[in-house]
């Protein structure tokens, strides 16, 4: 049997795998995810004390759950609210966890896990609180790991989590699955949290703590857990497809000096084929089930993933997908992207026709990509003087030094 640091890392590995299920199981017993998480943490502490000397039990997950549930029962007894929680159960001094298990057996753990996800991502919480709570309760991450990933002090994350638990308790958020019209809204909050976690990891730069890029993997893992629990939800598969295809480009999106490499310039041999294949499979499932905005974004990403070279990109299809995305969720940024796709498919004149109405768009005022893209269209049309003015305008707007240099170089080339 393993001892010392081996045993400690074994305990932590079991925790990572089992934390969400332990917390979810206890939450159904106590009806409060905050309390459930604390009881589960107590079980983890007990494991860290006992396993290194006594050995890791044969079924460590069951050990953690049983220990946490026993503590839950003790807590309920102490609070003398047991009768209210479980009126059908005659409780005497000899009641043990197995009797509670019998009461709970009719409802599978999967539903508890889903309840836990929906509760951690409840709209009553601020996005950063949802993110922290989800990583802590579903991902089994420690406060320290979350803090390192988000570049904030430990104490900040600790406060965020304890405030989130209090908010859930204050709002009397029940440990239940949302039904009716609330369900779609709540699911979109869950998907948003997973995407936020992913994007935080995706925006990590060279030299950052390794926990930051690891957030991408955490997000994909959470997405896959959700897909296992809700296999009929198109957008869950759509989100996974989007994450896996985006993540497949991780190694190609930075040059040797850490400089960003744009999609069309990336060395496609460095794209992760395993993730591309998984992403395309998830996209097929999503499209079969109907899809939505994540599915459409994944479909666009898939057009790039399928092209062996940048020249082979199916821009007409991308333009069509952006049009569908714009119809479903109108946004000036989507329209700007559609203009680029149209220009690649049908030429810069057609692109300009999509782009120019955006010049009136107040939300894009000061957004450097608008003149930058327009400059590119004008340059390709041979209208060099106008292109130069657009590139210079864009250069004045961007705060990124590298980008400014690039834009000024393009302006210089307009002769």
């Amino acid at each position: 049997m393993s001892t010392g640091t081996d045993a400690k890392s074994a305990v932590e590995a079991v925790w990572r795998i089992e934390a969400a299920r332990v917390i979810a199981g206890v939450a159904r017993l106590v009806g409060d995810v905050g309390l459930a998480e604390e009881l589960a943490q107590d079980a983890l502490v007990a494991a860290l004390e006992q396993w290194p000397s006594e050995g890791v039990p044969r079924n460590p997950g069951a050990w953690l759950t049983t220990t946490a549930k026993r503590r839950a029962i003790d807590t309920i007894r102490r609070r003398q609210v047991l009768q209210r929680h479980l009126p059908a159960l005659a409780v005497d001094e000899h009641t043990d966890a197995s009797e509670f298990d019998a009461v709970l057996e009719q409802d599978p753990i999967e539903d508890d896990l889903l309840r836990l996800i929906f509760t951690a991502c409840h709209p009553v919480l601020k996005p950063e609180a949802r993110v922290a709570l989800t990583l802590r309760m579903l991902g089994g991450l420690s406060t320290d790991e979350i803090a390192r990933a988000f570049l904030v002090p430990d104490a900040t994350v600790g406060q965020r989590i304890s405030r989130a638990k209090k908010s859930l308790a204050d709002a009397k958020v029940p440990f239940e699955l949302p039904t009716g019209p609330a369900r779609a809204e709540r699911l979109s909050s869950v998907l948003e949290v997973i995407y936020l976690i992913f994007n935080e990891g995706y925006s990590a730069t060279a030299g950052d703590d390794w926990m930051r890029p690891a957030l991408c993997e955490e997000a994909m893992r959470l997405g896959r857990i959700l897909a296992g629990l809700m296999p009929a939800e198109a957008e869950v598969h759509g989100l996974i497809a989007l994450l896996e295809i985006q993540a497949s480009r991780s190694a190609a999106r930075c040059g040797p000096d850490g400089e960003p490499v744009m999609l069309l310039e990336q060395d496609r041999r460095r794209w992760d084929r395993l993730l591309v294949g998984r992403g395309l499979a998830a996209l097929a499932r999503a499209e079969e089930l109907g899809g939505g905005t994540y599915t459409l974004q994944a479909a666009i990403a898939a057009c790039h993933a399928r092209a062996r070279t940048a020249e082979e990109t199916d821009w007409a299809r991308i333009a069509e997908l952006y049009a569908r995305l714009a119809a479903l969720a109108p946004s000036p940024i989507v329209e700007l992207n559609r203009a680029v796709a149209v220009s690649m498919a049908d030429g810069p004149e057609a692109g300009l026709a999509v782009l120019d109405p955006l010049l009136e768009e107040p939300s894009l005022r000061g957004y450097h990509l608008l003149p930058s893209v327009r400059g590119d269209f004008l340059f390709r049309l041979g209208r060099h003087a106008e292109a130069r003015a657009e590139f210079e305008r864009a250069a004045a707007m961007t705060r990124n030094e590298r980008e400014r240099t690039l834009l000024l170089t393009r302006a210089e080339a307009c002769v």
């Binding site: 890392s9 074994a10 590995a13 044969r58 893992r221 857990i225 629990l229 992760d272």
Partner: protein, 117 residues
Amino acid sequence: MRYMLMHKLDDSNAALWQATPEDFAAVGAYMEEVSKAGVLLAAEGLLPSSGGAAVITKKDGQTTVVDGPFAEAKEVIGGFAILQVRDQAEAVEWATRFAALFNHDIEVEVRRVAEFE
């Protein structure tokens, strides 16, 4: 990070390669567990060398191909899974759970997968 779990079986022991209904059920439940935990990226089971195998050796510039089945008794890879895990301890835990499924002797090797960056 990714780890590959490979289990090894005695190539010459035919009984090991004929999964019992209990084995099928246990492995099926295990695969469902790793899948639902969100860590499974890929997995395949392999046939013994009698099911189709060859060894290609290049030595001193000479390439030789020896088709299976392999004559000498040896341990060969019976299947593999690629898992996305947070560290090696987690991969070891999943591998330990896999080994625990069987009544017969089994070896599971855990190896880190090389990734870009």
